[in-house]
Assembly symmetry: C2
Homo-oligomer: 137 residues x 2
Amino acid sequence: MRSSEHGALTKNQELVYDALTDAKGPLSAYAILDGLREHGIRAPLQVYRALDKLLEFGLVHRLESLNSFVACSHPECDSRETMVFTICEKCGKVSELADKAIAGQLQSLADLDHFALKAATVELRGFCQACQTASTQ
Amino acid sequence: MRSSEHGALTKNQELVYDALTDAKGPLSAYAILDGLREHGIRAPLQVYRALDKLLEFGLVHRLESLNSFVACSHPECDSRETMVFTICEKCGKVSELADKAIAGQLQSLADLDHFALKAATVELRGFCQACQTASTQ
DNA sequence: ACGCATCTGTTATACAATAACATCGATTGC
DNA sequence: GCAATCGATGTTATTGTATAACAGATGCGT
Ligand SMILES: [Zn+2]
Ligand SMILES: [Zn+2]
Ligand SMILES: [Zn+2]
Ligand SMILES: [Zn+2]
């Protein structure tokens, strides 16, 4: 049971987390809602509250440019760390990458600007390898 | 007249662009709408259509994590270039920074993943210099 | 004039997120 | 046991963000 892996996920938190891990791709809150109606989830708030906690636990990331959420695919991912997401504009595939160099560069840039950096959103748009070879576009 | 500066902005495009340049901060589409009702703008689509064009022209940037828009403060900013935005979570101040090193690092990371990079969203959250010195938090 | 593209105006709708309030259940302290 | 408390839940209503669909207007090249 997944809750034992992460301490104490509540029923709704686990439903939402399982929906995201099963999805193999980003899901909007309302897509999650639709997928869980048969499990007793009936209102957006039930999903958003669970997502808030999962984000807090670092089990889930929010993709700002898609208004969607993904399960963290980087088991050791410290939420404090800066993650980089690639988003394929053709097939929708999302990859989560960790890169210490970029995190450091962003910190340096923030320092130059005397900006106290708390969190960073880095989302790359383009075409994944499969979609490049599949077409000449 | 601003339209002469940028070729051929239409009336609505110029209204929206002027609203953003006057604002000295990010505005949501509906905030723009409210500010332009007296100028004949009555529906969200009028704003969104103008914003789409301004984004295409590179005159405006979208802040994904705020669902808001800012006029480009970087006159020579090539829209192809990767821009970095700092967003103060206390006062809302937004700064637009250009950093070739980060753009290069992101390109390298994309290359490693065989990802054809088209555009990058980089948004840093934290506290601006003024808000740091103003409080101990 | 005609075809075509672009911009425009309007209504209605879909999608995303939060507010407000009542309830339930487990835990703590007496 | 029992009140107090805290976190999670359920529900309704509302706000905020963005697009669909359709019609009309404008400009331009032929
Ligand atoms: Zn992660
Ligand atoms: Zn792809
Ligand atoms: Zn710019
Ligand atoms: Zn500030």
